[in-house]
């Protein structure tokens, strides 16, 4: 693989994308066999794997929006990595279709006879019904696709015809975009995750999912830029200073994630109302406490302590391990959100692993296509030089 050092365009795309596609397709085929063995388990695993990868794209969309609004300079060198991950919604929209076929297995409220006998579910049938669910999904994907496409195109246009107005337009577009993003992300998390237990509810749920998504994309960026560095790309452009700042952001949002998770747990625990506590009870009994505690320690305490130290944010090998670890914990987080709705005891399915690899293969293939098709640095950006020379004070 080669890169032109003046224009930052790839002269050869390399094998990463093709390899990812092969891995993705093979694992999807393997998982498809699982569908014929146990379709309910297949759909549960599919939902976990799908939401897991969706959060990377959503986190990326948020990161793009917020960078445009803040006008931050330090992370311009990594903008393309983020944009390439964000621009996955066409693929993710197609991959959503199996969930529609699995709705009957996944969502209890799609069973008419159950809803008819349950006054609580009948009361919310105006929101939780198949037609409206699909309409909403179409709306969410349209919002995400349009936002990501327009923002990506504007950013790419800057490479060819740099103009200050583009930065302003990206900012102006991102302000209402952020509102649409916040609402669509919240309701999507209600629809696709919270309604797995249609009796249970929590007002902070959307923020919790958002917090996890942002951690996912930040870790992904760390991982991808270190991977590129190993390939000899952007070795002098993305410096330890940038990793240091990414580490700080990661640290801040780990705390934010912990804050969201704790707020939800603590208020439910304290008030002790059975219709709410059932959520944590399901995630504590029959072996689930292992995963719950793993999240407390592994998703928060451990990376918190590591990232607290300045030196660890500036050591690339450690940052890489931390990023892999957080992504792994994020997968457990999604698993923890979904699986206890279906399985009383803690069980793993081999399809969870194969589907995460399968969808992940396609996600990385798409990502690699995006990243290699355009300059890997936003070369038309006037603030690029400031970003390249960025130093932590």
């Amino acid at each position: 693989m080669n890169i032109d050092s003046s224009t930052y365009t790839f002269t050869q795309k390399g094998t990463t994308g093709r390899n990812a596609l092969i891995v993705g397709v093979i694992f999807l085929i393997v998982s498809a066999a699982g569908y014929f063995m146990n379709s309910a388990e297949f759909f549960q695993s599919y939902l976990i794997a799908y939401i897991f990868w969706l959060t990377f794209a959503l986190g990326g969309l948020f990161y793009t929006l917020v960078n445009n609004l803040f006008g931050s300079e330090w992370n311009i060198v990594m903008r393309r990595l983020n944009e390439a991950a964000m621009y996955s919604f066409p693929l993710l929209a197609i991959l959503f279709i199996p969930i529609l076929f699995g709705m009957h297995d996944l969502y209890h409220w799609t069973h008419h006879e159950v809803v008819a006998e349950d006054p609580v579910l009948s009361a919310k049938a105006g929101y939780l019904n198949i037609t409206f669910f699909i309409i909403r999904a179409v709306i969410y994907f349209s919002i995400w696709f349009l936002l990501s496409r327009i923002l990506y195109k504007m950013s790419l246009k800057q490479d060819k015809e740099p103009h200050d107005d583009i930065i302003l337009n990206m900012r102006r577009f991102s302000a209402p975009g952020m509102i649409l993003f916040a609402l669509s992300m919240t309701f999507a998390s209600f629809d696709w995750l919270m309604s797995l237990d249609p009796h249970w509810f929590s007002t902070i749920y959307g923020l919790y999912i958002f917090a996890g998504s942002f951690l996912a994309i930040l870790s992904f960026i760390v991982l991808v830029s270190i991977n590129l560095r190993d390939k000899g790309i952007l070795t002098s452009e993305i410096t330890v200073e940038h990793y240091h700042d990414l580490g700080k952001l990661l640290f801040a949002f780990l705390i934010f994630w912990g804050y969201m998770g704790f707020s939800q747990y603590f208020l439910i625990w304290y008030a002790n109302i059975p219709e709410e506590t059932v959520y944590y009870l399901e995630r504590w009994e029959h072996g689930w406490n292992v995963i719950t505690m793993l999240l407390v320690v592994g998703h928060f305490t451990l990376p918190f302590l590591l990232l607290l130290i300045r030196a660890s944010k500036r050591r690339l090998s450690l940052m890489k391990s931390i990023a892999i670890w957080i992504i792994l914990m994020h997968a457990f987080d999604i698993f923890w959100l979904v699986k206890p709705n279906f399985s009383e005891g803690l069980t793993f399915s081999w399809m969870e692993a194969t589907l995460i690899l399968g969808i992940g293969g396609l996600f990385v293939w798409n990502f690699w296509n995006n990243i290699t098709s355009h300059p890997v640095l936003p070369v038309g950006e006037r603030r690029l030089k400031a970003s390249l020379n960025f130093k932590n004070n």
């Binding site: 007002t203 208020l267 006037r382």
Partner: protein, 465 residues
């Protein structure tokens, strides 16, 4: 590039205007504390301290007579006093946010406003602490609040959010005070060096702790400042999160909802910024600080007000949606009652002031209009006061037993305590701007172009292509 359009790059906007030099900044800010007391100040001080007397008088009568003088009834056992407490604690959030969080975010524009925002924080927290104190009724046993060993072996309930309040607000006040004082030290030394009278020399000499402005001192100072900023940041979130648990740990419909901690924090920042804005606009006008607190500062603050207003709006809509979605009739009733019941007027004041009015800041012209932002900053605080009123009173007035439902109306003493608390706040604030440097001189100098080591060589640092 057209000057009328927005600036794309931070360095295109000079933070401080009017060709200031290091000495002109020092003169401009220090002279406020050194010159003769102005008539305007005396007038404002007279007004504020009269209101403060109203507060003390009302507290005196309250202690004599008991909390029966308030409009509290059964079931509304928490009325204006708690509304005021939460209101003032909320106001107190902007100071630390500006000094700590914006510092960590490298937002250099904070330097013109951080000092008096921090002072405002301290005074707002003092006003807040008055209310739980006087709410106990028997004020002579107020020490029951505190976890202090006593011969009766009586301890406050450690599982009570009211005790956490005590810790959270107490910690916040202590750390904010230290942070504010640390920031003041170089400026106090400046005042000491300029002092003409013996008493000023001695007092500023003591409080500037022997500051000489040496290289080593600055190095230590900046490290201390960074550490304090790091320590204060979690406090910005924790204080109002803990205040929110006063409500959210209960099982009262409309109080118990999981979004409360971040929702209260966003609301606190929202109201705090609005209060900073109100005060900044007045101080800027009275003391001619237009070159130091520029339109850029004001516009940035308006953006933050708009964003936090929308976060609050997000929380309102989540509460409303989930109240319906939960299928819980009590929860749904609480919200329908808020919007359409006896207190609908308060609810719609809240929605208009907090969610609708801040939307005017989408327009750049309105974001940069002084009269508009002045009025908006006041309506935001009206709205935020009503938010706490709506939360506390509507939920309590409709408890689970319809036979105990009642309407709450404030009495004269409720009103006098609220107005009086503003008197206390403004009295302290006026004393502060008269006697201490209200803008962080040393920090403002740091963002002047002259402070850039490359100044005069290659133009601006980041502008090179």
């Amino acid at each position: 590039m057209n000057k009328e359009t927005e600036a794309v790059y931070d360095y295109q906007v000079p933070l401080i205007t009017g060709n200031q030099t290091f000495s002109s900044i020092t003169d401009r800010i220090s002279s406020i504390t050194e010159s003769k007391t102005t008539k305007e100040w005396l007038l404002l001080f007279g007004l504020a301290s009269s209101l403060m007397l109203l507060l003390f008088g009302s507290i005196g009568y309250l202690v004599w007579e008991g909390t029966g003088i308030w409009g509290l009834n059964n079931p509304v056992g928490w009325g204006w006093a708690i509304v005021n407490f939460v209101f003032w604690v909320g106001i107190g959030h902007a100071g630390t946010l500006i000094s700590a969080v914006l510092f960590l975010f490298r937002q250099k524009w904070r330097t013109s406003i951080n000092r008096f925002a921090e002072a405002m924080t301290l005074f707002a927290v003092i006003c807040a602490l008055v209310f739980p104190g006087i709410h106990v009724g028997r004020i002579w046993v107020v020490y029951y609040f505190f976890p202090i060993p006593n011969q009766m072996d009586m301890w406050p309930n450690f599982r009570s959010p009211l005790l956490w309040d005590f810790f959270a607000v107490g910690t916040y006040f202590t750390v904010s005070l230290l942070f504010w004082y640390t920031g003041l030290i170089p400026d106090l030394a400046t005042l000491r060096d300029r002092a003409k009278t013996k008493i000023r020399k001695v007092l500023f000499g003591i409080f500037s702790l022997g500051w000489r402005g040496g290289n080593k001192q600055w190095k230590h100072y900046e490290l201390a400042y960074l550490l304090l900023a790091g320590l204060s940041t979690p406090l910005v979130l924790s204080v109002h999160s803990v205040v929110s648990t006063d409500f959210a740990t209960s099982v009262i419909p409309g109080w118990h909802t999981t979004i409360f901690p971040p929702y209260f924090v966003a609301g606190a920042i929202f109201s705090g910024f609005a209060m900073v804005m109100t005060l900044a606009l007045i101080a800027r006008r009275v003391y001619h600080l237009e070159h130091i607190i520029t339109m850029t500062h004001l516009e940035n603050m308006n953006k933050i007000i708009m964003v936090t207003g929308m976060m609050v709006g997000y929380s309102y809509s989540m509460e409303f949606f989930i109240a319906w979605y939960s299928g819980n009739p009590y929860e749904a009733y609480a919200f329908i009652n808020r919007a359409f019941g006896e207190y609908a007027w308060a609810y719609w004041i809240m929605i208009s002031c907090n969610v609708i009015i801040p939307q005017i800041f989408w327009s750049r012209r309105l974001r940069r209009s002084i009269p508009v932002m002045f009025i908006a900053s006041i309506t935001v605080n009206i709205g935020m006061w009503f938010e706490r009123f709506v939360i506390i009173v509507t939920s309590l007035s409709r408890d689970f037993l319809p036979s105990s439902w009642d309407y709450y109306s404030p009495t004269f003493w409720d009103v006098s305590l609220l107005i009086g608390s503003f008197g206390l706040f403004f009295t302290l604030f006026l004393l502060f701007i008269r006697h201490l440097p209200m803008v962080a001189m040393s920090e403002v100098k740091g963002v002047l172009p002259q402070a850039n080591p490359h100044h005069g060589h290659n133009g601006h640092e980041g502008e090179s292509k």
